[in-house]
Symmetry: C3
């Protein structure tokens, strides 16, 4: 147990109810030295895909040994397992419903355990709030130095959802919008490899067939109110409107298809180079 | 003073304004080792009953010696007293307007003090933000080890509101909805004693005269979109719609009456048993 | 580095995305002993004036040596500088877009530096999230004891916006609404000097020409639903409706003009005195 084990929380619990505070009370009872950080509690109710994506985006700024709890749990109280995965030295707890998909995808080989050692749980275990009764007390025990082997049993078959992959076509690559943030910026699944060397070869973005804008260096590279794309802070193409709400102005949502195409000029340039 | 006294906050201050952060600055100035946990700041403005209920629900996961501040305070600046109650070893600070009702109700005998020692307060004391000027500095002092007797004067007559009690009738028990959570689940005031042995004797739920559903083991025991009840994590009957928003679909709100009735089959069974 | 350097955060990031949690991960990686306090993350997107005002209101309850990060940053990724100012012993980090205006206004002489020492930053630096890549790591370094001189270069020309000042007239003073809080209370820029000795000389408030109410001692000094003003907790005149939402009932917003006038009675009294 270190003096300040970091524990993060990600849920769809919102802020009206005392659920998150109750989980923190349990964690701090088991590990008084824990430092708890909220990732977000505004995942849409039951949105496992969105939760998994946001979770992955946040994890890598935390050090090895940190403990991460995600609870988006429509199947609570049923037979779904509760899991903990060790991914690049971080311990990630979640119900076995797909939440671990994105963290597992990019984190290399993982050790995964089902939480089976009920002596670490809070009793009686309720049918509707296992964030309090299972995940928080086990997270507290792990933060206090308990071994993975003590809290569970190895498994190899966590539930995963299909992560949408960009599709390469004759004239470009088609991906999709995965997340819309508070500003209306739209995170896609298009990587630097998909868009190529956009600084030398202008890249045009189309959304559901409509011309949208170009990839630029930063928001202010287009006039106020104009649209564009940046290679965003999460490592993916993000669509934006400078000082505006892109999702609202362009009526965009998760799942909309985004196509990037190298422009005429750029093809010409590439031949020269 | 321990190395990590837990201090929790519950208010109707919301998240737009810096009020909560300001209270934390004061508490940490008086007790740098405090660990502060937010219970919720989204109590509806001036909703003393809702705040009291949520407060009680959260307190019991925190250890003896922890300090708990609740500020829902429409009477701020007037003659209402500021109180601290010691309930099962926890120190609970609140304006004297009924907020302490639920924590006092279930916590056994309490020592209650009016906060009268103005030397612990922040001066000048404002007429509109005594969370900052009275409750936070006194909470910080208590978290740092100050005695109850030092900060106030014993009283015996805190204001309490009438807590709605279930009514037993010939064919069942009628309670009411006390709280609607972020998912639309509806917490009632019906206890295990009110609903009986629902696992052996099916129990039917009616809301304002409409048939609603049965008590089941967990959300997933009914089909997606179907309604039911579970004995919830707070120890009361909770109404839900599986993977849906019960309050929205059934148009339910705090105060709606909920009746539980043992079904025909069950009555028959009970005779046999 | 003290055992518990306080670090506060104020942003327009909201609560849906993991941005704030990511900043905390970076800060705690650089300074594990930091105590992080959220001031607010619900500044309206890009509202630099509102952010600056709220920031100033919160700072003065924090001790010298504390570190304060504000990120409302529509110009992120462009050529705008990143700054840190030492104001009354507190270290305040923000983009150079006016956010520092209010803290600088009332804080006396300040030392101001542009953040130029890129070795403290997180690399690669993104074009859209310098809260993570610049402000958080530098704040962590400062919280851990790094010197201002190490992280930047002195400057003397931070961007400031014009702060609206009350205008004295023959029959009173006209100010304006600067902030509307969660309860609908409206903070103005009118000071005790502007309103005079309202307890001896009744002061009438008019809003955009409409009679509004008088300044009173506290909310409960007028009947439920009635309007009035109090000398509020931030040191300015605040408009309220007792147990109601003033902004909603009176249709008020930031920028609306508020006039205070000493009443007939009061003028008479003043002659006598």
């Amino acid at each position: 147990m270190t003096a300040s084990t970091l524990v993060t929380l990600l849920t769809d619990f919102g802020h009206r109810d005392p659920f998150v505070g109750i989980m923190k009370g349990i964690i701090l009872s088991r590990c008084p030295a824990a430092q708890i950080v909220d990732l977000t509690h505004e995942i849409l109710p039951y949105d496992i895909r969105g939760g998994s994506l946001v979770w992955r985006a946040a994890l890598d700024v935390f050090p090895a040994g940190s403990v991460h709890v995600a609870v988006v749990d429509p199947g609570v109280g049923g037979s779904r397992r509760a899991l903990v995965a060790e991914i690049e030295g971080r311990l990630c707890l979640a119900p076995d419903n797909g939440l671990l998909t994105c963290p597992l995808l990019e984190g290399g080989p993982a050790r995964i355990f089902a939480l089976t050692a009920t002596r670490y749980w809070r009793h009686p275990v309720s049918a509707s709030f296992q964030g309090r009764d299972v995940f928080a007390p086990v997270a507290g025990a792990l933060a206090a130095g308990e071994a993975l082997e003590a809290v569970g049993t190895p498994i190899a078959d966590p539930i995963r959802f299909d992560v949408p992959r960009p599709r390469r076509e004759a004239e470009g690559v088609t991906g999709e919008i995965l997340w819309v943030d508070r500003f209306g910026n739209c995170l896609t699944n298009l990587t630097p490899g998909d868009v190529g060397d956009w600084e030398r070869t202008p890249v045009e973005i189309e959304i559901e067939g409509r011309p949208f804008g170009r990839i630029v260096t930063h928001f202010g590279a287009v006039p106020d109110g104009a649209a564009g794309g940046v290679m965003g802070s999460m490592g993916y193409l993000e669509l934006f409107v400078n000082r505006g709400n892109c999702a609202a102005r362009w009526n965009l949502a998760v799942g909309d298809r985004v196509r990037v195409r190298r422009g005429e000029t750029s093809s010409a340039s590439r031949i020269v180079i």
